[in-house]
């Protein structure tokens, strides 16, 4: 079980790399825990999740993000 987290460090790491990653791997997914980035870019959320589960401490959450220039905003209408 993981407790809710803000992923402050992970989000900072993502922001620091966002533009560079977007140039090289647009639309791919990455997994980040703390300041550690799972090895590789992934085609799907599921693949990035599995990479994180292999490489990270699963007693706490890790960030899975798609490499996009703009933030994802979901819509419910």
């Amino acid at each position: 079980m993981t407790s809710p987290t803000s992923f402050a460090i992970e989000r900072k790491v993502f922001e620091e790399h966002r533009e560079k990653w977007f140039r090289s791997n647009p639309g791919k997914y990455v997994a980040i825990q703390g300041d550690v980035v799972a090895s590789g870019f992934f085609d799907t959320y599921a693949e990035a999740l599995r990479a994180g589960l292999r490489e990270f401490d699963v007693s706490r959450g890790f960030l899975v993000r798609q490499v996009r220039l703009a933030e994802q905003v979901y819509v419910v209408s």
Partner: protein, 148 residues
């Protein structure tokens, strides 16, 4: 291929829309990895879901996400609903449809948000799931049919 009929009376203002029973849990991958280091997870939880073509992604009530202890993979993303912005979280979950034969989705990213005074359903089944189905609506017979 499975085929499921749901009742929906669009002329009844108290009918929230086409609803289906679902079972939500953590992703099997998360449970396997967690149990390997001694973590425990709650039993899967059956709840009611609304088929919502207006939802771009599947959204679960934050209360139920917490109850299911869904593994968190993001925080701080946003949902726009009727022009308002809502804070949301993201989780790696699994959704199945008991008694229907419909294919389960595992893992699937599930967004959680605060549902205000919602008494009919705990989940919105969004287009990330709906796009996998053939859905027909027979208004005369108040029936929605799902095929996968």
């Amino acid at each position: 291929m499975a085929r499921v009929n749901l009742h929906w009376d669009p002329s009844n203002p108290d009918d929230p829309g086409p609803c289906i029973d679902v079972i939500v849990s953590n992703s099997a991958d998360v449970i396997e990895a967690g149990r390997a280091i001694g973590l425990e997870y709650p039993e899967p939880r059956k709840m009611t879901a609304l088929l919502d073509t207006g939802a771009s992604v599947t959204v679960i009530s934050k209360v139920f996400a917490n109850h299911c202890k869904l593994f968190q993979t993001n925080e701080g993303s946003e949902i726009t609903a009727i022009g308002a912005q809502h804070h949301c979280w993201e989780h790696a979950g699994a959704i199945s449809f008991p008694g229907t034969g419909l294919r389960a989705f595992d893992p699937i990213r599930i967004v959680s948000a605060v549902f205000v005074k919602e008494r009919y359903y705990a989940i919105l089944i969004g287009r990330d799931i709906l796009r996998n189905w053939i859905i027909t609506f027979d208004a005369r017979h108040k029936r929605v049919t799902i095929e996968d």
